[in-house]
Every structure is written in C-alpha cells, then in structure tokens.
C-alpha cells in the first residue's frame, strides 16, 4: 500500500512502546514482533500520535532539520508506507 492521501493516521491501540536512549522500541503484541524507531522515526511517530497529516509532518520535520520539504516528503512517505505495511498504523478519513 502506498500512502498518497493527505489524511491522518490512526495508531493501533494495542502496541506497547518503550523509549530507550531517545529511540522507540515498539512491541506488536498481537504478532509478537518488535520494531525499532531511531530519532527521526520517533519524531514522525510522535507527530502521528498528535494526529498530524503528512503535509504537517513534512513541514515540521523540514523546519526541525533545516532540509527542503521535497527531500523530507519522500522519506516521510516511505516511512509511513512501512508503518502501514507492518500494520502499525491505518489510514483514516481525510479531514474535512
């Protein structure tokens, strides 16, 4: 699945998240699989938790790291695609 909508995303509620030295370890208790998120992934995850959409996330990341939005957008989309593919988040209806 490829994320190409400006919608917001819903994080699965049954995930267990542990912060370790500024990174996240996410436990998918249903499938008994662990995922690690480094600093950038952790930041995107936190923005997803705040129900920010892709445009907003890209804007925040670009400002935070001082990188152009075009570059950031590609990485953010790839990352979110992976989260969707792993079933950690689901797409939700677009904001009105």
């Amino acid at each position: 699945m490829t994320v190409n909508s400006p919608g917001v995303f819903q994080i699965r509620e049954d995930l267990l998240i542990e912060e370790v030295d500024g990174e996240f370890v996410i436990l998918d208790m249903h499938h008994n699989v662990y995922f690690g998120l480094e600093a950038m992934g952790k930041l995107i995850w936190e923005l997803l938790q705040q129900e920010q959409d892709v445009d907003s996330i890209v804007n925040t990341i670009a400002s935070h790291y001082g990188v152009s939005e075009d570059v950031v957008r590609r990485d953010v989309m790839t990352f979110i695609d992976q989260l969707v593919e792993q079933g950690l988040i689901t797409t939700r209806v677009n904001r009105a």
């Binding site: 049954d14 267990l16 542990e18 370790v20 030295d21 500024g22 990174e23 996240f24 370890v25 436990l27 208790m29 249903h30 008994n32 662990y34 995922f35 690690g36 998120l37 480094e38």
Partner: protein, 324 residues
Amino acid sequence: MSVHHHYLIYDEHVCSDQPLDYPISEAADDGCAWRLYEGDLSVCDDLNSWTRIHEEFDFEGGPCLMIYEDQHDPTSSLISYAGWRALIRAHEVIYTYDRTASPYAIPFAQVIERVIAPWKVLSQRDHILAVHGGAVSMSGQAWIFIGESGVGKSSAALELVHKGMTLLSDDMALVDVEHMCVLPGPWVVRMWGSSHVDGTSDGGAVVGTQGQKRRVLVARVHTPSVQVQKNELQAIFVLERVHEGSPEGKFHEMRGAKGLIKVLGQCFDLSHPSPMWSRRRLTLARRMCDELQGISVCSYGESPDGRPAHVEGLWHQITQREGQ
C-alpha cells in the same frame, strides 16, 4: 524414589520430594517452593483438554520434549520427556516414569535439573527470561551467546568449556533478571557442520548424529541435591557471521533500541504467548540490557580450517572483562 531430590536456586529451596524444614506454605506463597512426588497421572492420559505448546526432538529419533498447557488452567502444564511425565501445578510436581516408553534412560536428577525445574521456574516465576542462546560460567560469572541458528553458538560454548568454563545451557539460557543471574537450562550441545569435536570435556559421550549435526552430552556431577549456584550475568555476545570477515572476530558494543531489539528477537515466547507476557518480556529484556549497559556484537568470518577462531577473541573479551 529412595533418594532425596532437592532443587535449590542459590540458597533457596524451590522443590523437594522430602518434607522441608520450614513451612512450605509460607515459601509457596510467592511461588518459591513446591513439592515433588511420584503419583498417578492417568488423569492426564486424555490430552483433549491440553494444548501442546512445545515439541522438540533432541535429535532425529531421540528423546522428545513435549509441553502441554491446561486449557482451563494456564498455571498447570504437563511435560513429557524420555519416558518421564510430570504434571506441574502451582505448588507441586507429580511425576511418573515408564521405562518402556523410551529407549533413552535419562536419570531423574537430570530431568529435574534440566527440564522440569527450569520449566517450572520459567512458567511460574515472573522475573525469568528465556533467551535463545548458549551460556557458560566461570567463577560465579556467566556469559550468554545469542545469534541466528547455525551461527556458532554451540561451537563457541563448547570451545569455552574446553578452556575450563562450565556449560549452563546450549539452546535456552534462563536469566533471573531480578538477580541478574543465569540458571542452567537444557544441557545438550548440538554441533553443526564438520565439527572437529569428537568427545566432551568431562566424560560425556557422543550419543547420536543427525546428518552433519552431532549431539554431545556434557557430563555433570549429579548429586541427590541439585543446587543452582549464583552465576552473575556479565555480558551478552551477539554472534554474527559476516562474508569475508576476520575469523578472529571484531567486537563492538550495541546499545539502546538496537541492542534491545536484538535481545528481544532471541527471547523464547513458548511460555509467554499472551500480551501480558509479551509486556513482561519487554520489561525484563529492557532491564537486563540496562543493567549490562548494552550488548557486545562479535562479527566474524569463516576460518580457513573451519575451526571457530573467533572463540579466542571471545575468550580474550571475557578474561579482559573479568580482570577489570
């Protein structure tokens, strides 16, 4: 059974087939003591109410360890191994032996020490983590080797046994995270590939082969009373075989989420399939990694003669740390 069988973890009784000299009910309140006795297990003949959660042959045609969980009472489990059967309940273990059921005569003390007691401890104590890996000890200190199957955990463990260390487990290392100690697990050493090992360090015997896989028993001293000494966990080594890597191995530390995920990926979940246990496993693994301040990765390449040359590097790391 005329011999007293006691199983102690450190100085604490956890099971006995004779009356203990203190009220078992007090000790049993926190699950630290249980009674062991021979009894009738015909009630368990009908396995319809049991769910099989583990089945593994030591080698093809060899003894098979099977573990069942009571569908109605998850605190009860049933173990079957080499003619022995044991019903494990909260405060007791009832066992039977049918010598005609298996051609492998494994002494009861061994079955207690390396099958029943570890399982009982693992399934009913909430601070034990079962790690897929080999463990060795020396002078009250312990080291664990984890890594993908076939990476050389058994080879490393056996080489270190040849250097005078004691094998705590081959495949499953039980870590008491509360005390940061390693308990003995299954005692079998399995060897892959063209092993140069043709015996054991202290009187065991090669008992079978499976293709190129050789199974070696490392003999231990068996006494009526089995006491698990404190072997404090010093380090976890992740073994990684890399293409064109140095046979002697290169070492680096892995901390944070990466280290934790490496460890979690090598934790057994056979006794801990529920979300509650997943949560506990994460908590225990986190605590263990924090205590160790990370794990050590040993990346090594194939040596020309096939011998596990990286073990010298491991030995150096271990003795260097011990000397600090």
